[in-house]
Each structure stands twice: as structure tokens, then as C-alpha cells.
């Protein structure tokens, strides 16, 4: 008796359960699987993930199939849970930025800004944040919207077999990541936006470099647009796939491009402006098809709008401070590049080590102990590329957060997977999930 026969026999015997006879198959030849006696109703439960290239990270889907039709799908999450919210309770308010930037790693400037806006709201210094810091925040957020949407389009295309879309999107994303590196020193996980302002000012050549990059990014969009918009293969795979109407979105708490694909122009940048978004000139693109193709069109249009906001930011950048004036909150040191990499600027070191004992004490207290934030709780939301990113922050009057909860849009939007996939084809499952664009780092935190 060969090993193959053993598998066959196990399969054919099955196991009697309360739900009928269950056959468990793992590996083996399809001919043998087929040869196993077919039950009265053919229900196949397939486990997809958590390690599967086309589920956007460590998402696990338990899919029940009837032939090619998905009858039930249940997402299972938690494979990337890192306890960031708990960790924040053991760091100072400033150190928290380093953690939240790692949540939704494709749109880290949004987590950073939402976190810092919440801290500033608790401190009551929202209006004291310098104009230059706010404009740079907006500029980085909008560049981040483009780089995040590019990943959504690129991986979405990849998952449907359109590899060219992936190459084009990542080519443009690389330009933007280079700009991040120029500004923050890092391509991802920046920790650049800090409570009260920014970690440091833009480097001298940043404005010129960003201006120079904008036309290149814009041409890059055109390539993606020419490739996919109206492309019959792309439309066949995405049109009328993953449909969720407005009622469904509101009930399930879905925000972002998915909500706007129902024709409802809900965008927190317009409806509840923060960071001075009411002073920028931009539009909220919508479609009324409520499907995957519509969400793709919205992302394309949003990238162009974001680019226009970036241009407006560059025009209004005036020299000035990038951190609040209150010395009890402002980070005492400015960073600079030295011979051994980035560190505190030499003038600052000279002052605290050579001339002023009080400056040294002040630096030491603020860096080790941090600043106190009056007790209370706030909710601060920003419009991330995926929808409403909300921060519920509680302070107990101390130097560390008492509780920080991130309402991540990916987490909430993933709940829509059963609603948009059940009854569809198994091949459309991947397209529909790609259209939600979940990032598991944000889902699990």
C-alpha cells in the first residue's frame, strides 16, 4: 500500500460530525480527492491565509464554497497584533509617536498626525502649533495619501494578475519614498511629527526637490491611468464586484473610498477640517457605482487632488519655527547631521554641556520625564487614505498616556468582507478585498 492510497482512504472514510460527514484533505492529488465519495451537498470550506500572497498581509479568510461561489466568508485577524496601544501607556507622550507610526505602516504620517493632534487637543495648544509645522504636516499627509493609494493600486493590480500596474505604481512610490527619506531621514516609520510640531525643519533643498518630483509623479499616474481606465480586462475583473451601498456602509461603519464610491462625498478634510484643510482648494471625487472599479477610479482621482494640495503647501511655506514656543512642551533640542549620523545639534550640546546648567536640567527633565498633560479624554479623527482614523486618548494628568485607542479604518472596513463577497465568485473575493485596501499593521495594531 502506497502513501497515496493512505491519504485516499482517510479522505474516503471521512468523519461523522453533528453537521454531517466531514472530509479533511491536506495535500494529495486532485484525482484522488475527486474520487472520494461526494456528499449529498458539496460544501467545501477553504482556509485562505494567514500566509497568502494575495490577502494583503497576514489576513486569514475562512471561505465556504459551493462550486465557484462563495457562500460564506469569515475574516480572522490578530496575526500582526503587537500591543502598541498597551506599550504607549509605558512611554512618554513624545515617545508614543515612534510606536503609532508603525501601526498602519503605509500611511504612517496619518497615525502620527492624529496622535499629535489628540495630544495637542488635550494640552489645549491646538492653535499654538506654528503655521509652518501644520503646512508641512498637510504636505506630508497628502504625499502619503499618494504613496498609500499607489500601493493599493499596485498590489490590487498584482492580485488580479496585472503585474505592469504594480511596476508602474511602485516606480512612482519610490520617488515619494525618496522625498520622505530626504525630509525625515527614513522611508517608513518616520516619527517625524511630534506633539507641538515637528522633529526638525525641512532640509534646505527639500522644497526644490519636491517641486521637481511633482511633474514626474503626475506623469506616472497617467501611465497607470492609460493602462487600466477603460481596459476591458481590468473592467471585467472589477466592475460590479464587491458592491456595498450607502446603507451598508453606514451600518458597518465603512469610511474612505468605499463610502465615497456610493456617491456620498464624505471626507473629514471637508466636513470636519483639521490642520487648516478648509483653506486648501481641492475636490472630493465620488462615483455612484459602489463597486471595485469605482473605488479604483476614486483613488486615481484623489491622487491628483492630493498632488494639487502638495503644490499649494509648497506655495505657502514661509520660514518660521516648527515647534510650539512653550518651553515646557517643546522638545529642547534640534536634530542635525553630524560626522557620526543624526543627533542633537552641536550648538545645543555646547549649550547644555558647556554654558548653561539650567538648560541641561531642562533638557534632562523633558527628555526623560516628559511633560504632563491635564486629565481628560478627547477623540480626534483624520481622513486617512482608508477612511476615518480616530484616536481616543485619555490622560490621567501624568507624563504618559493613560489609554490610547486607535479606531483604525482598516479594522472597521474589514468587517465588510462578508457583506461584499458572499454570493460572488471566489476569484472576485481577492479583487473585492483589494478594493477595501486593508493594512494589517493598522488592523491588528
Amino acid at each position: 500500500m502506497t502513501t497515496d492510497n493512505l491519504i485516499f482512504e482517510t479522505a474516503s472514510d471521512g468523519q461523522e460530525t453533528s453537521q454531517g460527514r466531514v472530509y479533511t484533505l491536506s495535500g494529495g492529488d486532485w484525482d484522488q480527492v475527486k474520487a472520494a465519495p461526494a456528499g449529498e451537498a458539496e460544501r467545501v470550506v477553504v482556509n485562505m491565509g494567514p500566509q497568502h500572497p494575495s490577502t494583503h498581509g497576514v489576513l486569514r479568510l475562512i471561505v465556504e464554497l459551493e462550486g465557484e461561489t462563495v457562500t460564506e466568508v469569515r475574516p480572522a485577524i490578530g496575526y500582526l497584533h503587537t500591543g502598541i496601544e498597551k506599550n504607549l501607556e509605558y512611554r512618554t507622550w513624545t515617545q508614543g509617536v515612534t510606536f503609532v507610526t508603525r501601526m498602519d505602516y503605509l500611511s504612517s504620517f496619518y497615525s502620527e498626525t492624529a496622535y499629535c493632534l489628540a495630544v495637542e487637543k488635550l494640552l489645549g495648544i491646538t492653535d499654538d502649533v506654528p503655521e509652518r509645522a501644520t503646512v508641512i504636516r498637510v504636505m506630508l499627509m497628502e504625499l502619503n495619501r499618494i504613496s498609500s493609494h499607489l500601493v493599493a493600486l499596485g498590489t490590487g493590480g498584482l492580485e488580479l494578475g496585472a503585474l505592469t500596474a504594480m511596476f508602474l505604481a511602485f516606480r512612482e512610490r519610490e520617488i515619494i519614498l525618496d522625498l520622505y527619506e530626504l525630509v525625515t531621514g527614513l522611508r517608513m516609520n518616520h516619527a517625524y511629527i511630534r506633539p507641538g510640531g515637528l522633529a526638525q525643519d525641512l532640509p534646505p533643498d527639500a522644497i526644490a526637490k519636491i517641486r521637481e518630483a511633482i511633474p514626474r509623479i503626475r506623469t506616472g499616474f497617467k501611465d497607470t491611468e492609460n493602462l487600466l481606465v477603460g481596459n476591458s480586462v481590468w473592467m471585467a475583473r472589477t466592475k460590479d464586484v464587491g458592491v456595498l451601498d450607502l446603507d451598508g456602509c453606514l451600518a458597518l461603519g465603512i469610511t474612505g473610498p468605499t463610502l465615497r464610491s456610493t456617491g456620498f462625498a464624505w471626507d473629514l478634510r471637508k466636513t470636519n477640517p483639521y490642520c487648516g484643510y478648509e483653506t486648501y482648494d481641492f475636490k472630493i471625487p465620488t462615483v455612484d457605482t459602489a463597486d471595485t472599479y469605482g473605488r479604483f477610479l476614486i483613488r486615481l482621482a484623489e491622487m491628483e487632488q492630493s498632488l494639487q494640495i502638495v503644490e499649494q503647501c509648497l506655495d505657502r511655506l514661509e520660514p518660521g519655527p516648527v515647534m510650539v514656543g512653550d518651553k515646557k512642551i517643546a522638545w529642547p533640542a534640534q536634530l542635525s547631521i553630524g560626522g557620526d549620523g543624526m543627533g542633537n545639534s552641536l550648538e545645543h550640546i555646547k549649550q547644555i554641556m558647556g554654558t548653561s546648567m539650567e538648560s541641561l536640567i531642562h533638557h534632562f527633565k523633558l527628555v526623560t520625564e516628559g511633560f504632563e498633560v491635564p486629565a481628560g479624554q478627547v477623540y480626534q479623527a483624520v481622513e486617512s487614505p482608508r477612511g476615518e482614523l480616530g484616536v481616543h486618548m485619555v490622560s490621567d494628568g501624568g507624563t504618559r498616556p493613560y489609554r490610547v485607542h486607535f479606531r483604525d479604518p482598516s479594522f472597521t472596513n474589514l468587517q465588510a468582507v462578508p457583506a461584499i463577497c458572499e454570493g460572488g465568485q471566489v476569484a472576485d473575493l481577492v479583487a473585492a478585498i483589494a478594493s477595501i485596501d486593508p493594512v494589517m499593521g493598522g488592523v491588528d495594531r
Binding site: 490578530g78 497584533h81 486629565a375 481628560g376 501624568g398 489609554r403 479606531r407
Partner: protein, 235 residues
Amino acid sequence: MTETNNPLIPQGATELPLVDIREGSFGVRGSGDTSGFGGLVRRIYLPPAANRPLPGWFEDVVSVFEQALAAKEFKSADVIERVVIDRNELTINVNRQFIKIAMQILRDEPRLKFEMSMGVSGVHYPAQTDAELHAVYHIRSMTHNRQIRVETTAPDVDPHIPSTVDVYPTNNWHERETYDFFGVIFDGHPGLTRIEMPDDWVGHPQRKDYPLGGVPVEYKGATIPAPDQRRMYSR
């Protein structure tokens, strides 16, 4: 209440939500403290209840909510425990027995229309006896472009709060998350299982009595203790 130096707390106010009682300073314990700072006692409170009438549209929301409760023959004094305005945000503290009907009214009443829930966030306040566990709901009205917070509490010994999934289906995963992290049991939830932690995990990690964990790290000869073993300046 003479110990408090919190200017937010009105004279003669009672039953304020306590966060913590702190003794000493700089987190130093057991040393030969001769400075006198070791004798400091500070009580930390959350912001107090607001006086009526409330400013702006907050008064509209609360009074319409009260009228709607009365129309359904609920006494608003039973349902609403406190109304807080802090940092220009409205918080309605609701008794947990009535959380579902309160959410139903807030969603359906045409003058309120909080159609969308932004989920549930748990907070653990060990110092608040018989109200240790808080469930905080942020709800948003797109019709009126308003956003409020509804908060309810449960004692640690009876951590039950009625589920709001029937009213806001989006709260399904959020309630599972709050159960997972805080041990709040949402009665009537369609499938209250852990969502982030493994199914066989023991304990609820976001509670304040659950340690962060971690190991000391040695770097260039010096040992840095695990994050939850380092000195805390807050208490």
C-alpha cells in the same frame, strides 16, 4: 476634597470620577526621603459634570435626547448619569442598563440622527470603585455633522454591558476587541470571542493590573530594565 488643587473641580462638588490617588513625588519609594515630598497626596479627577444649559448645539442634543427618552417613558435621570463638556467635546454618561435604548434613540430620532458608530473603546479605571470598566462609544451624525461620546461603566465584579450590535452592526468587532482587551462581556453579542489575542489566551491585556512584560536589555555593559519596570514619574 481639600487635597485637590485641580481648578476644574467646583467647590462642594461630590462624586467626581477619580482616576488615581498619587503619593510622593518622582516615583521614589523606600529611600530615606528627607525632602517632605514623600508626604504629598494628589487626587486626580476627570473633568466634572457640566452645568445646564450647555453651550451651542450640545444643549440641543441633550434636551432632544431627554425628550425622546420621556416619549418612550424612560426617566432621563435614570438613564443619563452625567453630561460632561470638556475640550469642546460632549460626553453623555449612560447607565449601562439603558445603553441599547439610548443608542437606538440617538440613531433614529430625526433631530439627533447619529447614523454612524466609530466603535467602542474600553478604559480601565481601577480607582473608580464599582465603575472600573468603561466602554466609550463615539458616534457621528452625518446629517447634522456632529460627533458625541457616549460612555457607560460596569463594575469589575459584574463586567456585563448590553451589546449594541443590533443598533450599530459595526460595533461587532469593536465589542469583541473590548472584550478581548478588558474582559467586558457584551450581553447579546452574536459571537463574543477574542479577536486580537489567541483564543486560549489567559487574561485581558489592556487592563491596568495586567503587566506589560518584557525583558531587561543589556547595552554596552549597562542593563536597561523592561519598560514596565522603569521609573515612572507620573506616580
